[in-house]
Symmetry: C2
Subunit: 470 residues, 2 copies
C-alpha cells in the first residue's frame, strides 16, 4: 500500500453522513453507486477496502439483491463479516438468502460470537436452526451456551473472545502470548488476568504491559480493583456499570468467579439507546418498537399503538361519566365548562412532568424504589408552589371573564388538581415498579387520563358545593 499523503485534509463530503468527516482518500457514495451500475467490480473492490464498515453496509442496502451479493462477495473475508454485523436483522436475513451454504458457513465462522448471538436472536427459529447446523462443533457449543442465557441478560451480549494471561508470568511472556492470541479477540486493549482454573483476578489495560519492564511479573501490575458482571445480570445493569466505571469492556464471571467472557462498550451503548427508546415509546402509551421507525411495518405500528389507545378510551369513560353526573351543575352555570379544559389539562400536565422526572431518575439509577417517601415530600412542596402560582393566574382570568364566584371555584380547583396530578405522577412509577411493571408506562397518556378523572371530580364537586347546588 502506498504511504499516505499527510497533506491531504479530511474529505468532508466523502460520505452520506456529511457532517462527520472521514479521512478517506477514496470515492463517495454516489461514485460507488455509479461503479456498481457500470459493473466496474475491480475498482469498486479496491475502493471499498478503504471504507469504514458502516458506510459499506449503507451502500449495500441501497442495491438490488443481485447487486448486493456481488458486492458482498467482492469484500475481503474479514471485512465482509464486519459489514454484515452492521446490517439490521431483516437485511441480514435477506442477504443470507442470497449466499450459498459454503459462503454462509464462512461468514458465520468469521462473525464474532456476540454478533452471532444477535443474528440468531433476530432470525426466525427455523432459519437459526439451519445456521446452527453450519457451525463448527466448537462454535456450535459456544453459540448454544450464549443463547442459553436469558433474553436481555449480560450473557446474550457477551463474547468469549478475550486475551487472558497468568499472574505468575513475566510481562515479556504475557506480551508474547498477547501477540500470538491477539489477532482474533475483540478487545486486546484490555488484558484479563486469570489463574489456572480461569478464576478472574484482574483486568489491566494493554498500555500498562507496554509501560512496564518485560522482566517484571504480571502480578506486579495487578491492583485487584475491577468490576465484574454476572452472565445472568440484566443487561441494564451492565449499562449502569459502564456509566459508573467508564470501562471500554467489562468482564463477565460465573458464580464461582470463573471468567466467561467480556461485554464491550459499543454493545452497551446500543443497549442504553434501546432502553431509552423503549422508555420513550412506553411513555407515549405504546408497546416499544423492536425495529427503527422507518423500518417498522404499517401493521406492526397499528398493533403496537391500538391496544393502549383502546384501554385509554375506557379510562376516559370515567371522566365522561363524572361530567354527565354533574349535568345539573353544568346547566346552572354553563361558564364552568369554559374552564374545564385548562383545569384538567393542567392537572394532567403537572402529572406528566412529575412522572417523567421520576421515570427518568429511576432509569438512570439516580433514585431507587425505597426513596419514594422522600420524593413524595419534595413533590408535595414543589406542586404546592406550582399550584399556588397557577391558581393566581386562573383566578385573574376567571375574575375578568365571569366574576368572583367562579374565580374562587376555579382558583381553588387549580390549586388542588395541580397537586393531585403531580402526586399521582410521582407515585405511579413507584407503584408500577412495586408490582413488577415498567415504570416508564406511567409517564404519559396514562397519567394524563388518571389526572383528568381526578380533575373533573374535584372541579364539579367543588363547584356544586360552593354554588350551593348540592
Amino acid at each position: 500500500m502506498a504511504s499516505p499523503s499527510p497533506q491531504t485534509p479530511p474529505n468532508p463530503e466523502a460520505l452520506a453522513n456529511a457532517r462527520i468527516m472521514t479521512t478517506l482518500p477514496t470515492i463517495d457514495h454516489q461514485e460507488a453507486l455509479a461503479l456498481v451500475a457500470k459493473q466496474h467490480w475491480a475498482e469498486l473492490r479496491s475502493q471499498l477496502a478503504r471504507w469504514p464498515e458502516p458506510e459499506i453496509a449503507d451502500l449495500l442496502i441501497e442495491l438490488t439483491p443481485a447487486e448486493q451479493v456481488v458486492v458482498f462477495r467482492l469484500l475481503p473475508r474479514s471485512l465482509s463479516s464486519e459489514v454484515f454485523a452492521h446490517l439490521e436483522g431483516d437485511e441480514q436475513n435477506d442477504l443470507l438468502g442470497q449466499l450459498n451454504s459454503e459462503e454462509t458457513r464462512q461468514l458465520l465462522a468469521n462473525l464474532s460470537p456476540d454478533d452471532r448471538t444477535q443474528l440468531f436472536e433476530e432470525l426466525p427459529g427455523l432459519a437459526t436452526q439451519k445456521l446452527l447446523n453450519l457451525l463448527s462443533p466448537e462454535d456450535l457449543r459456544e453459540a448454544r451456551q450464549l443463547l442459553g442465557y436469558p433474553e436481555e441478560s449480560v450473557g446474550r451480549l457477551m463474547t468469549p473472545d478475550y486475551v487472558a494471561v497468568r499472574p505468575e508470568w513475566t510481562i515479556g511472556q504475557a506480551l508474547e502470548h498477547i501477540r500470538s492470541r491477539g489477532r482474533d479477540s475483540e478487545t486486546v486493549n484490555i488484558i484479563y488476568i486469570t489463574d489456572a482454573q480461569w478464576h478472574f483476578v484482574d483486568a489491566v489495560e494493554l498500555r500498562r504491559f507496554i509501560l512496564h519492564p518485560p522482566d517484571e511479573t504480571v502480578s506486579q501490575i495487578v491492583d485487584e480493583n475491577h468490576v465484574v458482571l454476572s452472565a445472568f445480570d440484566d443487561r441494564e445493569e451492565a449499562v449502569q456499570a459502564l456509566r459508573r466505571y467508564d470501562l471500554p469492556a467489562l468482564p463477565v464471571v460465573d458464580s464461582q468467579g470463573v471468567m466467561l467472557g467480556i461485554v464491550t462498550f459499543d454493545d452497551l451503548l446500543d443497549v442504553a439507546d434501546e432502553e431509552a427508546t423503549e422508555d420513550f415509546h412506553k411513555g407515549a402509551a405504546m408497546t416499544p418498537l423492536k425495529t427503527s421507525y422507518p423500518d417498522a411495518k404499517i401493521y406492526e405500528l397499528v398493533k403496537k399503538r391500538a391496544p393502549w389507545l383502546v384501554t385509554l378510551i375506557f379510562v376516559n369513560i370515567f371522566s365522561g361519566a363524572v361530567i354527565a353526573a354533574f349535568e345539573d351543575t353544568i346547566a346552572a352555570v354553563v361558564s364552568l365548562v369554559f374552564f374545564m379544559p385548562l383545569l384538567i389539562g393542567s392537572s394532567g400536565n403537572a402529572g406528566a412532568q412529575a412522572s417523567t422526572l421520576m421515570v427518568r431518575a429511576l432509569a438512570m439509577g439516580e433514585v431507587e424504589l425505597r426513596d419514594w417517601g422522600r420524593l413524595f415530600s419534595k413533590e408535595l412542596l414543589v406542586s404546592g408552589l406550582l399550584g399556588l402560582f397557577m391558581s393566581i393566574v386562573v383566578a385573574v382570568l376567571a375574575f375578568v371573564r365571569v366574576g368572583p364566584e367562579v374565580a374562587l371555584i376555579v382558583a381553588l380547583t387549580m390549586f388542588i388538581v395541580v397537586m393531585v396530578g403531580s402526586l399521582i405522577g410521582t407515585l405511579m412509577p413507584f407503584i408500577l415498579s412495586r408490582f413488577g411493571m415498567d415504570p416508564a408506562t406511567a409517564s404519559g397518556p396514562l397519567i394524563t387520563s388518571l389526572a383528568d378523572i381526578a380533575g373533573v371530580v374535584i372541579y364539579f364537586s367543588l363547584a356544586t358545593w360552593l354554588l350551593g347546588l348540592w
Copy 2:
C-alpha cells in the same frame, strides 16, 4: 504489594451498588464510614487505595465537610484528582472551598484537561476566574482554548492528551515514544499518526503496534480509514459518530486537518444520557434540569416547570372557548358531553404516540428533516387504520348507551380526530426543527393540548351539523 489470591471469588456485597460485583478484597461502605468515625486514618488510606474512584466519590459525599477534606487529603495525588472528577459540580465547589490554594493548584494540575473544562463550565464565573489564576501558563492557555469553543460543542469535551507518532518512524521507535509519553495521556489504547505539521493521518489501535515486527514502519500499518470530528461540531454529532463507528475515542481536527485532541467514549456516553434526559423533560413540557432530580432544588424545579404549565393554560383556553361557543348544542344534547373526554383524549394520545415516534427517530438519526413527506404518508395510513378501529369501538359504546344518532356522530368524530391528532403529532417535530427549535418539545403536553383544540372543534361542529342544530 502482595500477590493476589486467585481463589478469592468476587465479593458481591462489598459496595453500595450490590448487584455490580467488584473484586475488591477490601472493606465495604459501612466499614469505611466506621473507620472515619473512629478516625483510623492510616487504615482507611490503605483500604481506599484499592477502591474504584466512583465508590470513593460516593463515600465522600456522605461525610461532613471537615471529614471530607481529611479523607480527600489521605488519597494518593493521582487518585484524588480522579475521585474529584467523579463528583457533581456543586460537590466539587464545596470541596474546593475546603482546600487551601496550594492543594487546589495541585488538584487542578492533576485533573485531565476535559475534566478541567467541565469544572470551569459548572462553577460560577468568579470561582472559575480564581481557579484559572492557579493554573500553570501552559495549562491556562489550554483551558482558555478549550473554553473558547461553543457550549455543547465537541471542543468542550476534548482532551489534548493523546499520543501521536509519525508515519516514517519504525514500530519500535513508535513504541519507545509511547512508553515515554503514555503515562499522562487519557487513551493510549489508540495511537494517532500525524505528520510533522500535526495533520491527522490515521488512528491505530495500540494492539496493532504490538502485533507487528518492530522494524516495520508505522506507515505500513496505516489504513487511512478513520473518522474525525471538528471541534466546532455539535457534541450530538460526536455521539452519532460513536454510535455508528463503535470507536472508543474519536480524533478532533481543525479545518486544515490539524489534530487538536480526542473525545473519549465515556464522555460521549454521558452526553447521550444527558441528551435523552433533556428530550424526556422537554417532552413532558418542562425546561430540562441540569442536575439530577434528587439534587435539584425546590426553587429550580418550580422555575423549570411553571412556564410551560402557564403557557399550556393559554392554549387550553381555546378549547374552553370552543366548548362555550357550542353551548346551545350541548344544552340540546347533554349526552354529547359524556363522550367528550374520550374523543379529545384519543386525539391527544394518538398525537403523543406519533410525535414521540418522530422525536426519537430524529434524535437517533434514523430519520431526517427531508423525510417528512414520506413519514406523513406512512402516518396517514397508520392513523387511518387506528381511527377506523377506534371508531368501531366507540360506535358500539355510544349505540348501547345513547342511540344511533349519537353513535354516528361519535364514530365519525373518532375517526377524524385520531387521524388529525396523529398528523399534528407527526408534523409538529419537523415544523419545530425547521424553525430551529428542539423537536423534543413537541412530544407531550403541547401536542395533547393542540390535539384537544382540534378535537373539540371537530366534535361539536360535526354534532351541530348532523343534529341539524346549525
